[in-house]
């Protein structure tokens, strides 16, 4: 079955580390290391890549512009860049979705950002919809409402470029509990704000990602399929500067899908994706796979093996 015939295509989210002659590097180290990365992604059967907004400077500097970088991606047999993750540095002084006084800064950021990306066609621009938990607590209904209003406006901007604004709920952001997620979406406009289901992040936050997806399937615009072996406990979600790195209980949160002792029920997830008639892209991620002896190349191959041999047997 060719990629064009499959209901589901697989994109690879831009996390990578390898060892070069000068020590540890990521794929953006040089054009040569980028080529090696893209070859590996393509070799095991991924169809495209996702990236981060902050990479746009390297696209300008090393490749000329986003379109030129995408040409390189395509020269390696991959279809295109599907999604970008807008990894904003939230700051309650000037950039915090729950603080209305900062909204204009956020809107202007997206006007500029979408202009930069406009030379290629993205599906989604993904955001963590809230500041870090410790900057937003206590989480009140008003704060959730202000946050929703912010993203409704941002979503209108991105829709003008044909790109979905979609929310990715890290376990350490201000909107990570089930009731807060439900309240947040009750205030957002489905036309402008979508949900991006990260299977591991929701599990870590104690939410069943399959049930969450089934409740919100009609507004889900994409997925990060990755696994975890741990649920956050105590105040894991409020460690400065970033709980994903600093939480005292867990040195490594993320594993490739199919890992032993993984908490995500990927078979149930793929069944739900099938049952809801979702078609298009699923992004695979295994953020920080190299921690504690892991290896990005191997995790990437194994995750695609799992997609082919387990998940595509359920739905493709």
């Amino acid at each position: 079955m060719t990629a064009a015939e499959r209901a589901i295509k697989w994109s690879y989210m831009d996390h990578w580390r390898s060892n070069g002659p000068a020590g540890p590097i990521d794929q953006w180290h040089s054009v040569r290391t980028m080529s090696a990365f893209l070859k590996q992604i393509k070799a095991v059967g991924f169809d495209a890549i996702d990236t981060f907004d902050f990479r746009i400077w390297q696209m300008y500097g090393d490749y000329g512009c986003p379109a030129k970088y995408q040409e390189m991606v395509q020269d390696h047999g991959l279809e295109r860049i599907v999604n970008t993750f807008h990894a904003a540095d939230y700051d309650v002084r000037n950039y915090a979705p729950h603080i209305p006084q900062t909204h204009e800064n956020i809107l202007e950021d997206f006007r500029v950002t979408m202009g930069r990306w406009s030379e290629i066609q993205l599906d989604n621009i993904i955001v963590m919809p809230a500041t870090l938990y410790y900057d937003m607590e206590p989480i009140t209904e008003d704060k959730l409402k202000y946050t929703a209003e912010c993203w409704n406006k941002v979503g209108e901007i991105t829709a003008g470029y044909g790109v979905r604004l979609t929310c990715h709920h890290e376990f350490f952001c201000g909107i990570q509990s089930e009731p807060d997620i439900e309240t947040f979406y009750s205030y957002t406009d489905p036309e402008y704000v979508a949900l991006f289901v990260d299977t591991a992040q929701h599990c870590i936050a104690g939410i069943d990602p399959v049930a969450l997806y089934r409740r919100h399937a009609q507004r889900v615009s994409g997925f990060h399929f990755k696994d975890t072996r741990h649920v956050a406990t105590g105040d894991d979600h409020r460690h400065r500067p970033d709980s994903e790195i600093m939480a005292p209980t867990t040195g490594k949160w993320f594993y490739e899908m199919g890992t032993s002792e993984g908490l995500v029920d990927f078979r149930a997830m793929m069944t739900a994706v099938r049952d809801n008639g979702y078609t298009g892209w699923i992004s695979v991620e295994h953020d920080k796979a190299n921690k504690e002896g892991g290896d990005y190349s191997e995790s990437t191959a194994i995750s695609r093996w799992y997609a082919k041999n387990v998940l595509e047997e359920i739905y493709r």
Binding site: N19, R32, A36, K42, A43, V44, S297, T300, A301
Partner: protein, 323 residues
């Protein structure tokens, strides 16, 4: 790989020391990686000692109960079978051979080597593999100069092993490596001439030949009738200074301890500055209707998963082979 040539991948680079590739889950990760790269068949390398449970036949069988049990283990990762197994009777063996240190160049070792081949032959046949791939002789720096009689003594050992492999329904392929005492093309020819073409073939390793100063494409074209097995990898260097003669060449030459201090000799297919004409070589295989296995290796090259993926990309996008 969906191709008229049969492609396999060697697991040797995952097993770089005795205790790093022992747990079944680690072996499954390697097998899944190879499978994701489009290879459904693997080559094993023989090993020694109780740790080597994907290399030493008796330990494999203890772990998996039977040949079929081992194949079932491979198939959990969607790897369907074994193409071949590599064996170096010169490598020090542990308890199963009484800590032996043998050489085919030493007539006193011949009977023991032939006898030692039995569990390997049985295993290769038992898992449905086709070739026992062997290092025909030890390193040049450890071996007295070989005259015609010396080469004949080596050939006699392999003729005897060849009778066993043939009786078991498998092939025996003598693998050239760049340190071996049978080093020049003339010496290789002499060894091949002294062995029985009906039972003893040649395992052509593209990088090893290149390092040793022999053009693999030309060699294949002139010896296609004897080549029954292929190892495909690239190199950026030829041993132009006879470094293979340095004492401890396994370390002094191949690990950059002396000489030109080249720390890495072997590279993935398509590497910048690669000396092997991979496309020319594969074209020659096709032109000659080669029917054996083509085993791609990450041997001594770096991160095994990364190299397997880069090799897979080369096959798919430079050689045009569908995965």
């Amino acid at each position: 790989m969906k191709d008229s040539l049969r492609w396999a991948y060697a697991l040797n680079q995952w097993n770089v020391r005795l205790d790093v590739f022992v747990r079944h889950e680690d072996q499954q990760r390697a097998l899944k990686t190879v499978s994701a790269c489009g290879f459904d068949t693997i080559e094993l390398a023989s090993g020694t000692g109780r740790w080597d449970n994907i290399s030493r036949p008796e330990v494999i069988l203890l772990n998996h109960g039977s040949h079929q049990g081992f194949l079932d283990f491979l198939r959990r990762a969607n790897v369907q079978g074994v193409s071949s197994m590599f064996w170096d009777p010169q490598a020090p063996a542990e308890e199963e051979e009484g800590y032996a240190f043998r050489s085919t160049a030493n007539p006193a070792d011949a009977d023991a080597i032939v006898e030692w081949s039995k569990p390997l032959v049985d295993f290769v046949a038992g898992v449905g593999a086709e070739q026992l791939v062997v290092r025909p002789v030890g390193s040049a720096w450890m071996t007295p100069p070989l005259d015609a009689d010396g080469i004949k003594r080596i050939a006699d050992v392999w003729n005897r092993v060849g009778e066993r492999t043939s009786a078991a329904g498998i092939g025996l392929a003598l693998h050239y490596d760049c340190l071996g005492a049978v080093h020049t093309e003339e010496e290789v020819d002499a060894l091949l001439e002294a062995t029985d073409p009906a039972t003893v073939g040649f395992a052509l390793d593209t990088a090893e030949l290149t390092v040793g100063g022999i053009d693999p494409v030309a060699f294949y074209r002139s010896h296609s009738d004897r080549v029954t097995h292929v190892h495909l990898k690239d190199t950026r260097y030829a041993d132009t200074g006879e470094e293979y003669r340095m004492p401890g060449a396994e370390s002094t030459m191949l690990k950059g301890g002396a000489g030109r201090r080249i720390e890495r000799w072997f590279f993935e297919l398509g590497t910048d500055g690669g000396l092997v004409d991979v496309k020319g070589f594969v074209a020659a295989l096709r032109e000659n209707g080669y029917r054996g296995w083509v085993v791609v290796e990450s041997d001594h090259g770096g991160n095994p998963a990364e190299l397997a993926m880069l090799n897979s990309w080369y096959l798919q996008h430079e050689l045009g082979i569908a995965k």
